[in-house]
């Protein structure tokens, strides 16, 4: 199979990053999820331009790589805000008012779940269980879990994200 090189040439930074990370995993196709996680940590998202290089390095078709990127919720196709807040919407948190909390958050930040605030500080997303079900409602601020979230706690989190 011949890979066109146009996209590679147009976006050397993304392609180089993809190749370097793939190499760290010995170009093993089974490590694709790990590679995509690392790529996202490095670039902030998984750019379209990195996919052909990745496919070539792992000896996969571009369709296969595209299929994986689009299947998993974690991989972003475009950059997020400086901080990502994941609000748990699953049953245990619902029993402690998660739906009301989501409504409050959307009004407070003037965004819907899945969107980024106008100042680019915060992206809010839904999560379905963060494993903190005894201390609901829960959210995750970047990689830090927060339990027993209420309006006061949330306002403090937002202020920290914006500072």
């Amino acid at each position: 199979m011949s890979q066109k090189t146009t996209l590679l040439d147009l976006s050397p930074r993304e392609a180089t990053a993809a190749r370097e990370i793939a190499l760290r995993y010995g170009n093993r196709p089974d490590a694709l999820l790990e590679i995509l996680h690392d790529l996202q940590e490095h670039l902030g998202f998984v750019p379209e331009a990195a996919l052909p290089a990745l496919a070539k390095a792992l000896n996969l078709s571009r369709a296969e790589v595209h299929g994986v990127v689009t299947f998993y919720h974690d991989y972003r196709r475009e950059p997020a805000g400086r901080h990502v807040i994941k609000v748990c919407r699953a049953e245990a948190c619902q029993s402690m008012g998660a739906n009301e909390l989501v409504g409050m958050i959307e009004r407070y930040l003037k965004v819907k779940l899945g969107q980024t605030t106008a100042d680019g500080a915060i992206t809010v997303e839904a999560a379905y269980c963060l494993g903190n079900c005894a201390l609901s409602p829960a959210m995750m601020v970047d990689e830090k879990l927060v339990g027993r979230v209420d309006a006061k706690k949330f306002e403090k989190i937002v202020a920290e994200c914006r500072s």
Binding site: L36, Q94, G131
Partner: protein, 507 residues
């Protein structure tokens, strides 16, 4: 200064354990970051070592730190006494969680000092078939939810001949209301490593993977640290403890797909592919990861194994009721006053767990419904609180024990909304491979909306029942197959919530 313990468990950290630990260190104390005892309603729980044992205070805030009498373990408004005597802990039967909260989770020395690796030591001197026999004797059934006998699964892989076999741990704990896997990985990860290594030795597998969901960054980091420490101490890797047995273990991150908790979707994901479900047969025990014979078990199944090998299958089997043998670490969650982890033998009633240990609802209002076994489990009404936790009893009541997650709802819950959410969740998380699940879930949301709106109510209830039957019988895996369970249980036990327009019209 005093030797104090502050959990590094992410639930404890979620309510300020890091800040408390920092304040204690600044005050000159020796701070050890242990696992959590599982009394999550008391986190951050600070313990101080005294001549009378470990005296606990909780829940502690940074502001409380200065006033804690840590030199003596003396009186304070947050003092709980010797934590081992706390009724929440004392009334449990901790076989799997015996060490969690006591030790530094990643310290091999701590682990060995508290009985760790006794099971593996024994296993290294046994034939694979003898290890499998011990696990079979214990009566252990898969703790991920399906309850399949672990010994039979291991025997199938043991008896298969192949150039390579694998052991995979399903740590994609996506069910709402469950956190026991996370607590094992963050609080006693060496136990999971030991259990998986025993499985490897038993079936002749030299390579293992722990598939951990990406929502658990702390568990991922702690597991990796524990694996490195186990390798350094020669309890893992090539020629374990100088024997001819080798087992290599690797952590793999999930990427936010609930379906990857289904074992064949997890295998696809471990192979770097989309997490779509594989049809069975072939069963993974014969054709699993990369087409090779593979043991797949849940974290809690592997975590039960070191005890079984160390103390014998019969010792484990002595706990439990009927065909549900041993203990299950139950997770009390949702609207509950004293949420946390309670390990008890099967046979404990839902009431003993929710009212006894849990102390009723957090809001203080009456309990209305309890979802047991995750988002695919039934909503149990308060009238069935006396059911014993047992796979067969729950199955007979069209419910399931699952992974032991127990989510309590008070009287404010709208059960039609919960039924709708079950379908909505299935629509979001379906892998899309089979039609009943992919399409049925979306149609399910629509039909429930019509029922709630009072549109052709009876006809649409029939349609929903028919749809649920199709999903149950026609789905490839438990995602589509069990989504009807919460839906139908909500309709059966709480019909009034599906009949609001009629009720309003009557008033």
């Amino acid at each position: 200064m005093s030797k104090v313990y502050v959990p590094r468990d992410s639930a404890a950290r979620s309510v300020g354990a890091d800040e408390v630990a920092e304040a204690l260190a600044k005050a000159g104390h020796e701070v050890i970051r242990n696992g959590s005892r599982g009394l999550l309603f008391l986190e951050p729980l600070v313990e101080v070592e005294t001549k009378d044992g470990r005296i606990a205070y909780g829940p502690v805030t940074v502001e409380d730190v200065a006033s804690l009498p840590l030199a003596t373990g003396g009186a304070h408004k947050l003092r709980l006494g010797n934590i081992e005597d706390h009724p929440y802990l004392k009334n449990q039967e901790r076989l799997t969680f015996a060490r969690c909260g006591i030790t530094d989770p990643v310290s091999v020395a701590d682990y060995v000092q508290h009985g760790g690796f006794e099971g593996l030591k024994k296993a290294l001197g046994l034939a694979g078939s003898a290890i499998v026999a011990e696990v079979t004797e214990s009566g252990l059934r898969g703790r991920g939810g399906a309850g399949f006998p672990t010994g039979i699964k291991w025997k199938t892989v043991h008896d298969a001949s192949a150039d390579q076999k694998y052991v995979c741990c399903n740590a994609d704990e996506g069910d709402s209301g469950t956190f026991a896997d996370r607590m094992v990985m963050e609080g006693d990860p060496l136990m999971l490593i030991e259990g998986m290594t025993i499985a490897g030795v038993a079936v002749g597998a030299t390579k293992g993977y722990v598939y951990i969901r990406s929502e658990y960054p702390d568990a991922i980091a702690t597991m990796k640290e524990a694996i490195a420490n186990a390798v350094a101490a020669k309890w893992l890797g090539a020629n374990i403890q100088g024997t001819d047995k080798s087992f290599h273990l690797e952590v793999r991150r999930g990427a936010g797909a609930y379906i990857c908790g289904e074992e064949t979707a997890m295998l696809e994901s471990l192979e770097g592919k989309r997490g779509t479900v594989r049809p069975k047969p072939p069963i993974p025990a014969l054709e699993g990861l990369f087409g090779k014979p593979t043991v797949i078990n849940n974290v809690l199944s592997f975590a039960a194994v070191p005890f079984i090998l160390a103390k014998g299958g019969a010792a484990y089997k002595n706990y439990g009721m009927g065909r549900s043998r041993g203990t299950l670490p139950f997770q009390l969650a949702g609207n509950i006053r004293q949420g946390g982890l309670v390990e008890k033998a099967f046979g404990v009633t839902l009431r003993e767990l929710v009212e006894g240990f849990g102390g009723g609802t957090f809001t203080g209002k009456p309990i209305r419904a309890i979802q047991v076994g995750g988002p695919l489990g039934a909503y149990v009404p308060a009238s069935q609180l006396d059911m014993p936790m047992d796979y067969e009893t729950f199955a007979a009541a069209q419910a399931m024990v699952g992974h032991g997650g127990i989510v309590v709802f008070d009287e404010s819950v709208d059960m039609a909304a919960q039924a709708r959410f079950a379908m909505e969740f299935c629509a979001i998380e379906s892998c899309g491979k089979c039609t009943p699940c992919r399409i049925g879930s979306t149609r399910g949301v629509e039909v429930i909306d019509k029922i709630v709106a009072g549109e052709d109510r009876d006809a649409n209830l029939d349609l929903l029942a028919d749809l649920c039957q199709t999903m149950t019988d026609g789905s490839l895996c438990a995602m589509g197959g069990l989504t009807p369970m919460p839906v139908l249980s909500a309709i059966k036990h709480f019909p009034e919530d599906f009949d609001k327009p009629a009720k309003m019209a009557a008033e």
